[in-house]
Amino acid sequence: MRVIVQYYAMLREQVGRNEELRETTAETVGGLYEELARVYRLTMPAGRVRAAINDEFVRWDTPLRDGDRVIFIPPVAGG
């Protein structure tokens, strides 16, 4: 399955890009984060990251589908 992953802020800096088209065997959004954390040595624990699929916030156990656009959201600090 292929998904688009978008990176922001600290994750963008650690991954070294804004976005990638990724071939994955992860079945859930949480599984995808584990995979990315391993590959890119991400320092942010999964428990502090939220996820969105196609611009909707989703739970960590949400199944991935081919073509999904996934955003991982480290702790926010607007305003």
Binding site: A9, G78, G79
Partner: protein, 136 residues
């Protein structure tokens, strides 16, 4: 209405956009300014980064919640992205309502929820120390 802006916010224009409705008797605005200090560190500038579409959809949800909780006329938010100097306006929230209770309540609610929920990140730049993503 929610907007992200890469250029300085025009506060007068934002306020003026909320003016025309005759049933509005109260306007409450909140502005967040870039401070020269953060948790004891001397701040020289900030950089904001936002997940734009997700910000928009989440802001609309927050506006809907504010309308359900408070009897308001209009609500408008503008948030900066990019690099800001000390003293610049980072965020502007304006709420009009027939009465002041609702305007105060909704402005506070919207600001608190924006800060908690919008996918916006802030990097602080310091004198003599590496920059740092806030909240991380």
């Amino acid at each position: 209405m929610f907007e992200l802006s890469a250029t300085p916010l025009d506060v007068s224009a934002l306020r003026a956009s909320l003016m025309p409705r005759a049933e509005a008797g109260a306007l409450v605005t909140f502005e967040g300014w870039v401070r020269n200090e953060s948790e004891g560190r001397s701040v020289t500038a900030l950089t904001y980064e936002a997940a734009e579409e997700l910000c928009r959809s989440e802001a609309e949800k927050i506006f809907g919640e504010a309308r359900a909780k408070y009897r308001i006329c209009e609500v408008r938010v503008a948030h900066r992205v990019g690099t800001l100097q000390v003293g610049e306006v980072a965020v502007w929230v304006g709420v009009t309502a027939p009465h002041r209770d609702a305007a105060f309540g909704a402005c506070r609610y919207v600001m608190d929820e924006l800060k908690r929920r919008l996918p916006i990140w802030k990097k602080e730049h310091y004198t003599g120390e590496p920059s740092r993503w806030v909240g991380v």
